[in-house]
C-alpha cells in the first residue's frame, strides 16, 4: 500500500517537473464557433505538414474569443481568435487597455446562413425577408402606430401563395453568433419595409431595434440549441418545419435537406460570394502580433491558414463550406496577414 502511494506521488512529481520545464510550444486559437471548423482545418494541415506540436483550437464564441484574446500579452493568452463579425470598438479598447495594441485583421471568406426544409416536403419554398419576419417576429406593427402579438400561425396566413402548413422553425439560441447574424441580416431587413417602421427608426431607434430583433416565443419559433445536427434530425422527422443554420450543414446534408430561397435567391457558393444571397456574413481571424516571434510556429501556421491551398476557390476550407474570397481580395488579405499589417492603420 505504502509503495503504491509512494510511486503514485513520484509519478506525479516527475510529470510536474517535466511539464514545467517546457514553455508553451503550441499555438492557441480561440473564438467563434463558425470560424472553428476552418481553424481546425488549418491547424491539422499545419501539424501534418510541419510535424510540429498541433495547435490547440477552441470554440467559445466570437465575444468570448475576444475576451480571451484581449486579456493581455503573454503565454497565458490566446494568439489568434476567430470572429464571425468585425471586432467592435469596445473590444479594440479592451485589447488596448490590456496592452494588446498591435493586432492584424484577416478576412478569410464568407459564411452563408441558410434556411432549409426536409426533402420530404413537396412544396417549392421561396420566402422574402419580410415574410420571414412576419412569421417569426414576436410583434408586428398594427398599421396604426402600435404593435400586436404576432397572429400568424400558418404560412398561408402571411401570404395565401405559401403552403397551408403550421409555421414551425428551428433556430439557434440567443447565445449563438448564428442567431445574431440571422437577426441582423434577415429580421432587420424584413422589418424595414413594414408600414410605419421607417418612421419609428427615425423617432426611436432603440424601440425599433427591440421590435425588429425579438423572435416570437409562443411556439412557432423553436430554439434548438447550439447543435445544428440536432436541427437537421428534427427537420427530417417533421417535413413541414424549416430550420435555420450555417450553410455548411445544408451542404453536408444536401441529400436530406433542400434550400429555401430568400428573396428568390438560392444559397450556393456562387450567390454567397457575389453578395446576391442576402444572408451572408464575412468571417475573420485576428492575430496578436506581439506573439509572432515568441510562440514557435506562428509564422508557418499563418502561412498555412492564408495559403491558396486553404482559402483559394478549390481550397480545403471551401470543401468545408467556406465561401471563398475573390482573388484580388484574397491576395490583399494574404499580404496583410503575412506582413502583419496593424489593425486600424
Amino acid at each position: 500500500m505504502k509503495k503504491l502511494l509512494g510511486s503514485c506521488a513520484l509519478v506525479a512529481i516527475m510529470m510536474a517537473t517535466a511539464g514545467v520545464a517546457v514553455a508553451r510550444d503550441q499555438i492557441k486559437v480561440t473564438g467563434s464557433s463558425t470560424v472553428f471548423p476552418y481553424s481546425q482545418a488549418a491547424a491539422e494541415e499545419y501539424a501534418n505538414k510541419t510535424g510540429k506540436p498541433a495547435p490547440v483550437v477552441e470554440s467559445v464564441g466570437t465575444g468570448g474569443g475576444f475576451k480571451a484574446f484581449c486579456g493581455g500579452v503573454g503565454e497565458d493568452f490566446a494568439d489568434i481568435t476567430g470572429a464571425s463579425r468585425a471586432i467592435k470598438e469596445s473590444e479594440v479598447k479592451l485589447c488596448a487597455d490590456n496592452g494588446v495594441t498591435d493586432i492584424t485583421e484577416a478576412l478569410i471568406g464568407y459564411d452563408g446562413l441558410s434556411i432549409a426544409v426536409s426533402r420530404g416536403n413537396a412544396a417549392e419554398w421561396s420566402l422574402t425577408e419580410e415574410q420571414i419576419f412576419k412569421a417569426l417576429a414576436s410583434e408586428l406593427p398594427d398599421g396604426k402606430g402600435g404593435f400586436v402579438a404576432n397572429p400568424n400561425q400558418m404560412w398561408s396566413d402571411i401570404d395565401p401563395a405559401l403552403p397551408a402548413t403550421k409555421i414551425v422553425a428551428f433556430g439557434p439560441p440567443p447565445t449563438s453568433g448564428t442567431r445574431d447574424a440571422f437577426v441582423e441580416l434577415v429580421m432587420h431587413d424584413g422589418c424595414k419595409g413594414l408600414p410605419g417602421m421607417a418612421d419609428l427608426k427615425k423617432a426611436d431607434e432603440k424601440k425599433w431595434t427591440e421590435v425588429c430583433s425579438r423572435m416570437r416565443q409562443d411556439g412557432p419559433f423553436v430554439e434548438a440549441g447550439e447543435n445544428d445536427n440536432l436541427i437537421v434530425q428534427r427537420l427530417e422527422a417533421d417535413a413541414n418545419s424549416v430550420g435555420i443554420f450555417g450553410y455548411s450543414f445544408l451542404y453536408e446534408n444536401s441529400d436530406k435537406l433542400k434550400d429555401v430561397k430568400i428573396n428568390g435567391v438560392a444559397a450556393t457558393p456562387e450567390t454567397i460570394a457575389d453578395g446576391s444571397y442576402p444572408v451572408a456574413r464575412p468571417l475573420f481571424f485576428y492575430v496578436k502580433n506581439a506573439h509572432r516571434d515568441v510562440i514557435p510556429g506562428m509564422k508557418e501556421f499563418l502561412e498555412e491558414y492564408m495559403s491558396d491551398a486553404a482559402l483559394g476557390p478549390d481550397g480545403y476550407m471551401a470543401e468545408r463550406g467556406l465561401t471563398p474570397l475573390a482573388p484580388e481580395k484574397l491576395q490583399e488579405a494574404q499580404k496583410a496577414v503575412l506582413e502583419g499589417k496593424k489593425f486600424g492603420s
Binding site: M1, L5, C8, A9, V11, A12, M15, A16, A18, G19, V20, V22, R24, Q26, K28, F36, P37, S39, Q40, A41, A43, E44, A47, N48, G51, P53, A54, P55, V56, V57, E58, S59, D76, R119, E226, N227, D228, N229, G246, S248, F249, Y251, E252, N253, S254, D255, Y316, R320, G321
Partner: protein, 433 residues
Amino acid sequence: MSVTASSDLNVGVPAINWQSDDMKSRRKRRYAADRRLQAYGLVAIIFALGFLAILISSLVYTGNSAFTQSVATIEIDLSTADIDRTKLADADWRGVVRGALRAQLPGLSRSDERKYFEMFTSSGQFIVRDAVVADPSRLDGKSTFVIPLADPFDQLAKGQVNRDTPESQRRVTDQQIGMFDQLVGKGIISRPFNWALFFNADSRFPELAGLAGAISGSFWSLLVCFVISFPVGIAAAIYLEEFAPKNKLTDLIEVNINNLAAVPSVVFGLLGLAVFLGWFGMPRSAPIVGGLVLSLMTLPTLIIVTRVSLKSVPSSIREAALGVGASKHEAIFHHILPLAMPTIMTGAIISLARALGESAPLLLIGMNAFITSPPDGVFEASTALPTQIFMWADSPERGFVARTSAAILVLLGFLVLMNGIAIFLRQRFERRW
C-alpha cells in the same frame, strides 16, 4: 387440537373460524395484494431495462458502422520513386500517392482525376510518409499501404448513400460511383476493423478521427484525480473517524462534506476556472486542471465511503490491537485500514468512473479543444472522452454521427470495465462480519 390450542391462547377472545367465507375472501385479497406488489416491481424493472435496451440499441444501430472503415489497399513500388533518403519527411509524398492511385485507374482526364482523388482521404500522403519514416526498409521495394476512403465514399461503401437519389442531392457524383465500383471490382476496397478509432487522435476528417487524444486525456485527468483525492480522502476520513472529537465543529464539517457531495459538477468547473486558471495561472485545457477539478468533485464522496468502511470494521479489532499495546496509528495502519481497503477501493473506483463520465466541469476549463495529437503529460492540452463526444456531436460531417455513437459506446465500455473491477474487488476481498 389446533382449534383448542388457539382458544387456550386467546382467552376471552371468541374463536375465529378461519374457514369462513369472510376469512377466505380476506385471505384472497391479501395474497392478491402480494402478487400485485410483485407485479409492480417486475413492471418497473422491465420499464427500466426497456429504456436501457432502447439506449444501447440505438447507439449500436447508429454507431456500429464507425467500427469499420472503408480503405483502399494499394501497392507502391518506392524503389523506383525519386526520394532523397536523407530527407524522408520532405519528399514529394503527395506525388507518390497520386501516382500509385493513378496506376489503379489509368487514362483519366485531368478533371476526372480530380474527382477520382476526392475519393481518398486527403491525408494519404502523410500516412505513407509516416509509415516510411517509421520503417525506411519500405523504400527498398514494393510494399502495401492502406489509404482510408474519404467520408462520403465511406458512407457509400456502408450503403448509407442512396444511389437512386438524383445526383445533385448527394455528395458523390454518378461518375465517382462508377469509379468506386471499378475499384471494388478490382478488389482493392475493403472494410477492416477501424483501429484508427482507438489509435488516432482527433481530426477534422471523420475517416481519420480517433479517440487516442481523448482516451489519454481522460487517463491523465483520472490519474491526477486519483493521486490527489485518494490519499487526501483517506487522511480526512481517518481523522474524522478516529481522532476528531465529537463536537459542534466536527458536526458542521460532516454536514458540509455531505452537502459538497451533492453539489452539481458544473459548480466545481466554475471554481476551477476562477481558482486554478485565474489565480494560479495554470494552463488551459490541461489534464492537470481537469484532474484537480474532478478530484474536488470526487473527494466528498470518497471521504464518505472511506468513513463508512472504517466504521464497518468491528470495534473488537481496534480494541484488541490497542489492548495488546499497539499505538493508535499502528492499530489504524496495521489492522483497520487494510481490512477496510477493499471497500475503500471499490468506492474510489466508482467515484473515478463517475469522474470519467463528467463533461460539464471539463467544458468550462477548455478541455473541449480541437487538438490533433494526444497529450504526453498532464500539462499538455487535451480533450477527454465526454468532451470529445460533445465536440463530435457538433460536427457537420456525416461520418461523425456514427463516430459520436461509437465514442459513447467506448465510454460506456470503460465505465462497465471500471464498475466490473469494483465488483470484483468487493466479491474477492471484502470481509463481512
